[in-house]
C-alpha cells in the first residue's frame, strides 16, 4: 500500500510550474504589489495621549485622504465616458485600463481584457462618428489602436488554443464577433481607412 502512495508522491512532483509560468506570475505579482503598497499601521499610544494629541490631527489627515481618494475615484469615474480628444481620455486609457490590465494574471483574463478594450474602442469611435468628430487624424489613430488590440487578442487566443483551453478561446472569439457585428458600421469605417492608408 505504501508503495502506491510513494508512486503518487513521485508522480505529483512532476506537476509544477514551468519556468516561464513561474516568472510570469512573479512579474504580475510584483507589478500588483507596486500598485498596492503597504499601509503602515499607526503606532499605538496611551488613550489619554491619543485623545489629546491625535484625534484632531488624525481626523484632519483622514479627511484630506478621503477627499483625495474621492477626487481620484471621481476623476476615474468621469474619465470612463470620455472619447479621444476629451481632457480626461488619457486617464481612462493610461490609468484605469492599465490598472485593470495588471490584474489580469492568466491568458484567459488577458484575452477577456483585450476583447473588452476592443469593444470600448469601437463604442468610442461610434460616439465620435455620431458627433461628427471622427476626423481623419483621429480615425487613423483609432484604426491603428484597433488593429493593435485585435492582433494582441489573436495572440492570446492562439496561446489559449495551444494550452488546450479551447472553450475559453471559443467564448472570447464569439464575444469579439459579437462586438464587431454590433459595431459593424464603424468597423467598416476604421478598416476602410486602414486599407486606404
Amino acid at each position: 500500500m505504501k508503495g502506491k502512495f510513494k508512486i503518487l508522491q513521485e508522480e505529483s512532483q512532476k506537476v509544477a510550474l514551468d519556468e516561464s509560468e513561474r516568472q510570469a506570475l512573479r512579474d504580475s505579482l510584483m507589478s500588483y504589489m507596486e500598485k498596492t503598497p503597504v499601509r503602515e499601521p499607526v503606532i499605538a499610544q496611551s488613550e489619554a495621549e491619543s485623545k489629546r494629541r491625535n484625534i484632531t490631527k488624525t481626523s484632519g489627515t483622514l479627511g484630506i485622504l478621503i477627499l483625495l481618494l474621492l477626487a481620484g475615484i471621481g476623476v476615474s469615474y468621469a474619465a470612463e465616458q470620455t472619447v479621444p480628444g476629451d481632457n480626461l481620455y488619457p486617464v481612462k486609457v493610461s490609468v484605469t485600463e492599465k490598472v485593470r490590465g495588471t490584474l489580469c494574471f492568466s491568458e484567459k483574463r488577458r484575452a477577456e481584457h483585450e476583447a473588452a478594450l476592443i469593444d470600448r474602442r469601437l463604442q468610442e469611435a461610434e460616439k465620435l462618428h455620431d458627433q461628427s468628430r471622427l476626423s481623419a487624424n483621429v480615425r487613423q489613430a483609432m484604426a491603428d489602436d484597433f488593429s493593435h488590440h485585435v492582433q494582441t487578442l489573436s495572440q492570446h487566443v492562439q496561446m489559449l488554443t495551444q494550452n488546450n483551453n479551447r472553450d475559453a478561446a471559443e467564448k472570447i472569439t464569439a464575444k469579439l464577433e459579437s462586438s464587431l457585428s454590433t459595431h459593424a458600421d464603424v468597423v467598416h469605417i476604421l478598416t476602410v481607412n486602414a486599407s486606404e492608408n
Binding site: M1, K2, K4, F5, I7, L8, Q9, E11, S12, Q13, K14, V15, A16, L17, E21, R22, L25, R26, D27, S28, L29, M30, S31, Y32, M33, E34, T36, P37, V38, R39, E40, P41, L103, F105, S106, E107, K108, R109, L160, N163, N164, N165, R166, D167, A168
Partner: protein
C-alpha cells in the same frame, strides 16, 4: 523588477518558496492548469492585500492554503449552483470544470487519487499535503496549526481508509 521594501522582498521570497506547492494543491483540486494558475495568482494577490492593509498573520503558509481553498470553493460555486451539503461532498471529487489540461497519470496513481478524494476533509487534506505536496508531518502540523502527533495519526488513518476502499474494489 526589484522589490522596493523589506516586506515586499519577504513576500516575494514566500512566493518563490510556495508557488509550486500551491499550484500543485490547486491543480489536484480543479484538474485544470490554466485555472490552477489563476488560483495561485489570486491567492498571492489576496494575501498581499491583507498584509498591505497592515494586518498580521501568524501562520502565513496556513493562510495561503486557506485562501486557496476558499477560492477553489468559489470556483465550484460559479460552475454549478448546488446545496451546501452537496458542495461539501463535491469538494473532494473531480471538479465539474473544464478538464482540458488534466495530466493523466498511470492507472494505479489515478485510482489512489480518486479514493483519496473520497475521504473526509480532515483525512484528505493531510494525505494530499503529505503525498502530493510532499510535506513532512511536522511541516503539515505547522501549516495547519496542529500537533505533529495528531497529523501523523490522521495520515495513517487516511491511508488505512484508502486501503479499505481499494480492497473493496478488488473484491
Amino acid at each position: 523588477m526589484q522589490p522596493s521594501s523589506k516586506k515586499t522582498a519577504e513576500f516575494i521570497s514566500l512566493y518563490d518558496e510556495m508557488a509550486d506547492q500551491l499550484f500543485r494543491h490547486c491543480f489536484f483540486k480543479v484538474s485544470n492548469r490554466e485555472l490552477a494558475l489563476d488560483l495561485v495568482q489570486e491567492t498571492f494577490a489576496r494575501t498581499w492585500e491583507y498584509l498591505a492593509a497592515g494586518k498580521e498573520v501568524n501562520n502565513i503558509k496556513g493562510f495561503l492554503f486557506k485562501v486557496a481553498n476558499n477560492l477553489i470553493i468559489d470556483e465550484y460555486r460559479k460552475k454549478k449552483v448546488v446545496s451546501l451539503e452537496t458542495l461539501q461532498e463535491q469538494i473532494g471529487f473531480d471538479a465539474p470544470v473544464q478538464d482540458h489540461n488534466r495530466t493523466i497519470f498511470n492507472v494505479e496513481v489515478d485510482t489512489v487519487l480518486s479514493h483519496i478524494k473520497k475521504l473526509d476533509d480532515k483525512y484528505r487534506e493531510v494525505i494530499m499535503m503529505r503525498y502530493v505536496n510532499d510535506y513532512s508531518p511536522k511541516e503539515i502540523a505547522s501549516i495547519l496549526g496542529e500537533s505533529e502527533n495528531a497529523v501523523s495519526v490522521r495520515i495513517n488513518r487516511g491511508i488505512k481508509k484508502v486501503q479499505e476502499m481499494l480492497n473493496l474494489v478488488n473484491n
